[in-house]
C-alpha cells in the first residue's frame, strides 16, 4: 500500500480538483462541507458533493486499487475530517 502521506496528498489534490477550489482555500481554512458547497462554483448541493467524493474514490481505486466506501457526513463536518476518513478507509486496505 502507498505511504499514508502520499495517499493524503493525493486525496487532497483530487478533492481540490473536483470541487474547483485552490488547496489553500479548501484546506488552509479547513472549510466545512456547507462552506465548500457555497464557495465552489461547480457545486449546487450535497448531491454534487457526494459525487465529488465518488469521483475521488474512483480515482483511488484506479490509482491504488483501494476501494473507499463513501461516508454520510453532516454539512458542518470540516474537510480535514473527510480526508481523515478517506485515509482511514485506505488504511483498512479494502481491495477494489
Amino acid at each position: 500500500m502507498a505511504e499514508i502521506d502520499e495517499l493524503k496528498n493525493f486525496i487532497c489534490r483530487k478533492f481540490s480538483e473536483n470541487v474547483g477550489l485552490e488547496p489553500e482555500e479548501l484546506f488552509g481554512r479547513d472549510l466545512s462541507l456547507a462552506e465548500v458547497i457555497t464557495r465552489s462554483e461547480r457545486l449546487k448541493n450535497s448531491v454534487d458533493l457526494m459525487e465529488v467524493f465518488a469521483k475521488c474514490s474512483n480515482t483511488l481505486r484506479k490509482q491504488y486499487g483501494i476501494r473507499v466506501r463513501l461516508p454520510a457526513l453532516s454539512l458542518d463536518t470540516p474537510i480535514s475530517r473527510v480526508v481523515e476518513l478517506f485515509v482511514q478507509e485506505c488504511q483498512h486496505g479494502r481491495a477494489a
Binding site: N45, V47, M50, K55, N58, T59, K62, L70, A72
Partner: protein, 330 residues
C-alpha cells in the same frame, strides 16, 4: 381504493404489475370510456405515437377526476374520542409534514416550466413531456392540499394548538432548484416512503373514518409515485438526462444514515432553505416510520422505482452505490 393501496404497499412483488405495469395509451385515442391510466411510456407517446399535449392532459384530468375524494366529509366523520394517543400524534405529525408539500410542488412547477422552454426546438417531444409534468403538478398540488387541510383541521379538533402564521410561512419556503431528473426521482422515492408510512399507520388505527382518511391519502401518494416514475423514465428515455442522477438520489436515500431514515437519523441536517417533511415526523410517527418492516418496504419501492426509471436493476443499496460510482466515472 384503500384496500388496494394497502395491498400495493405491503406486497410489492405480487402486485408489481398492478402498481407499475400500466398500459399506457395503446388502446386508442378516442375512448373516454376506457379506464384512465398513468402513462407508462410518456416519451414514446410523444415521440413515436405522435400524441399531443391536449390528449395527454385530458388523460391526466380523467385520472384525477376519477379518483377524487372529499377531505371535509372524512374529517367531519372522525370520532375523536375513539382515537389513541398514538393516533393523535400521527394526525398532528402528518399535518405538519403535509404543510411542506405545497412549496415542493411550487418548486417543481417553476423548474418544469424553465426546462420545458429550454428544450423547445431542440427536442420537442421532451419539451412536451416536461410540459405534461408541469401541467400535472396542479393536480398533485391540489391533492396534497387535501392531505394538509384534512390532517391539520383534524389536529385542531383533537385539541392541538394551531400552527402560528410564522410557522406556516416558514414551512412554505420554496425548495431550492436542482437538476430536473434528480428532483423528479427524489419525489418518486419520497412519495413511496410517504405511502408506506400511511400504510403503516392505517393498519394500526381502529377508528373507521381516520383509517379511511389514511388509506385515501396513502393511495394518493402511490399514484403520485407512479406519475413521478413515469416522468423520470421519460427524461431518461430522451437521452437528455443521464441515469446517474437518479442513481445519485437513490444512493442519497438508501445509504447508511441516508434520507430513508428520516427523523430517526443520528444527525438530521439543519436547513435554512426549506423544510423536508421526513426530517420532522413526531416521536410516535418517526418511530413507526423506521420499523424494520417499514424500512424493507421502502427499500423495495425505491429499488423498483429506480429500475423503472433507468431500466437498471439493483437488489441492494450496495449495488446502487457500486453502479452509481461506475456511472459517475472520474
Amino acid at each position: 381504493m384503500g384496500t388496494a393501496f394497502l395491498h400495493q404497499v405491503s406486497n410489492v412483488g405480487a402486485h408489481e404489475r398492478r402498481l407499475f405495469e400500466l398500459s399506457g395509451l395503446s388502446e386508442g385515442r378516442s375512448g373516454s370510456s376506457r379506464r384512465p391510466v398513468v402513462i407508462a411510456e410518456l416519451y414514446r407517446a410523444f415521440r413515436e405515437e405522435g400524441r399531443t399535449l391536449v390528449e395527454i392532459l385530458w388523460e391526466q384530468h380523467r385520472f384525477h377526476e376519477a379518483r377524487r375524494w372529499n377531505a371535509v366529509e372524512l374529517v367531519e366523520s372522525v370520532r375523536p374520542e375513539h382515537l389513541t394517543e398514538l393516533d393523535r400524534l400521527v394526525v398532528w405529525s402528518a399535518g405538519q409534514a403535509e404543510m411542506t408539500a405545497k412549496p415542493s410542488a411550487d418548486r417543481m412547477t417553476r423548474l418544469a416550466d424553465a426546462e420545458c422552454r429550454r428544450w423547445q426546438g431542440k427536442d420537442d417531444a421532451l419539451a412536451s413531456v416536461i410540459q405534461a409534468l408541469g401541467s400535472w403538478s396542479r393536480y398533485w398540488n391540489e391533492e396534497e392540499s387535501h392531505h394538509e387541510m384534512g390532517f391539520t383541521q383534524l389536529s385542531l379538533q383533537l385539541g392541538f394548538p394551531p400552527p402560528s402564521d410564522a410557522t406556516v410561512i416558514d414551512y412554505r419556503k420554496i425548495f431550492p432548484d436542482d437538476d430536473l431528473l434528480r428532483t423528479v426521482a427524489m419525489l418518486s422515492f419520497s412519495e413511496g416512503i410517504a405511502a408506506v408510512n400511511y400504510g403503516q399507520y392505517a393498519r394500526h388505527v381502529r377508528e373507521p373514518a381516520l383509517k379511511a382518511l389514511l388509506k385515501n391519502v396513502g393511495a394518493d401518494e402511490v399514484q403520485h409515485m407512479q406519475y413521478f416514475i413515469s416522468f423520470s423514465k421519460a427524461l431518461v428515455d430522451s437521452g437528455a438526462y443521464p441515469a446517474k442522477e437518479a442513481f445519485a438520489v437513490a444512493h442519497l436515500f438508501l445509504r447508511e444514515g441516508g434520507e430513508l431514515y428520516g427523523s430517526a437519523r443520528e444527525h438530521v441536517e439543519s436547513r435554512n432553505t426549506h423544510t423536508n417533511w421526513w426530517d420532522h415526523l413526531g416521536d410516535g410517527a418517526g418511530e413507526a416510520a423506521v420499523t424494520p418492516e417499514a424500512l424493507e418496504r421502502k427499500r423495495s419501492l425505491i429499488l423498483h422505482a429506480l429500475k423503472r426509471i433507468t431500466g437498471i436493476s439493483c437488489a441492494t443499496p450496495q449495488e446502487v452505490e457500486d453502479l452509481w460510482m461506475d456511472l459517475v466515472g472520474e
